[in-house]
């Protein structure tokens, strides 16, 4: 099985911030579109390691991970099979990212 590990702090930035590209240099949208979506399209399994970054705002996490469902055509079911989000220093970031993935769909269903 082909797999890819993305270390956010070294492969992207130690200083993630902002939702959209227009917000700043290291936004959730840029991480999603430039690193995460290509990896998910080209590998059967993708591991994202969040440890090493200084911190994360909710805007970054929601756009990077919730945006996979909202903007990039993935379903939570796809992502549960393909994606692992590691955040050993602070597991709340991983929980928050999965919450964004699941919640985006829940809202889509009730519309």
């Amino acid at each position: 099985m082909s797999s890819k590990q993305i270390n956010l702090a070294t492969d992207f930035s130690k200083f993630p911030a902002g939702r959209f590209r227009s917000d700043g240099p290291n936004s959730g949208e840029r991480f999603r579109d430039d690193l995460l979506v290509p990896a998910l399209n080209n590998y059967e399994r993708v591991v994202v390691v969040l440890d090493g970054a200084v911190g994360f705002g909710s805007s970054f996490i929601d756009e990077a991970f919730g945006g996979l469902v909202r903007n990039s055509g993935f379903t939570p079911s796809d992502l549960r099979k393909k994606l692992e989000i590691r955040s050993e220093k602070d597991p709340s970031y991983s929980d928050e990212a999965w919450d964004c993935i699941e919640t985006t769909v829940q809202f889509a269903k009730v519309r």
């Binding site: 902002g18 939702r19 290291n26 200084v54």
Partner: protein, 231 residues
């Protein structure tokens, strides 16, 4: 050609010198900055949600806080930057934010300011569900739509996560660090003021008349430095 004279008030003169206003205007007169309420402040500025700038501002204080608490402060500041970028200037990207930090009497103060449209105006112009939820919150709480009540509603809705899908959590991120460390938070936006003392769990919300209005938003965190085990 610009020129300036020093103000009569010596402390105001020190503030202008410390902020670099005199040097911007080419004023070379010497002002010794010594006032207690001036000397400790450091000044930062920018236009983007730039995590590296947030981190740079916190470097002088990084040994005082645990990694999780540093991450909470970083989260609050970067969300303030993001809010400023997305909402404060209605999408104009060339307008800026200013941040002032000070460590004094074992309290880290961080003040983040913009000169944008303000939270209440930004909320009332939104087309998404968050504005509807603010209106609903105020209706059921029996509160009128005022600047102070809008700020309170935006903070509370994000905390209870009623304002989903996943928008409107920026203000709760801004609040989280003071809740964790029993600090204080002031948000003054246009005519509204929200003041939280997390140690006493008391929150106050006011709306001023126009002559006390702050045109824009200023967020002030007062974050007590945690005592170390050996102290």
């Amino acid at each position: 050609m610009l020129s300036c004279r020093h103000p009569k008030d010596a402390v105001v003169s020190q503030v202008l010198s410390h902020l670099g206003i005199f040097s911007m205007l080419g004023e070379r007169g010497r002002v010794r900055v010594s006032a207690e309420d001036v000397i400790y402040w450091k000044v930062h500025g920018g236009t983007e949600a730039d995590g590296e700038r947030a981190n740079d501002a916190l470097i002088p204080y990084e040994d005082l806080f645990s990694d999780p608490d540093k991450a909470r402060i970083y989260r609050g500041i970067t969300e303030a930057m993001t809010n400023c970028r997305q909402h404060a200037y209605e999408g104009r990207s060339d307008e800026g934010w200013w941040m002032y930090t000070q460590l004094k009497d074992n309290v880290l103060s961080v003040a983040f300011a913009d000169l944008g449209i303000g939270i209440p105006v930004s909320l009332s112009s939104r087309e998404d569900s968050f504005k509807r939820n603010v209106s609903r919150y105020l209706f059921f709480a029996g509160l009128p739509w005022s600047d102070g009540n809008c700020i309170r509603a935006a903070l509370e809705l994000g905390r209870s996560r009623t304002g989903r899908p996943n928008r409107g959590k920026g203000l709760p991120d801004i609040r989280a660090v003071v809740d964790r460390l029993d600090g204080g938070l002031i948000i003054h936006s246009n005519d509204g003021l929200f003041h939280l003392n997390s140690a006493t769990k008391k929150a106050e919300c006011r709306t001023f008349s126009n002559n006390a209005s702050f045109q824009g938003t200023i967020i002030v965190w007062a974050i007590p430095v945690p005592r170390r085990e050996s102290e």
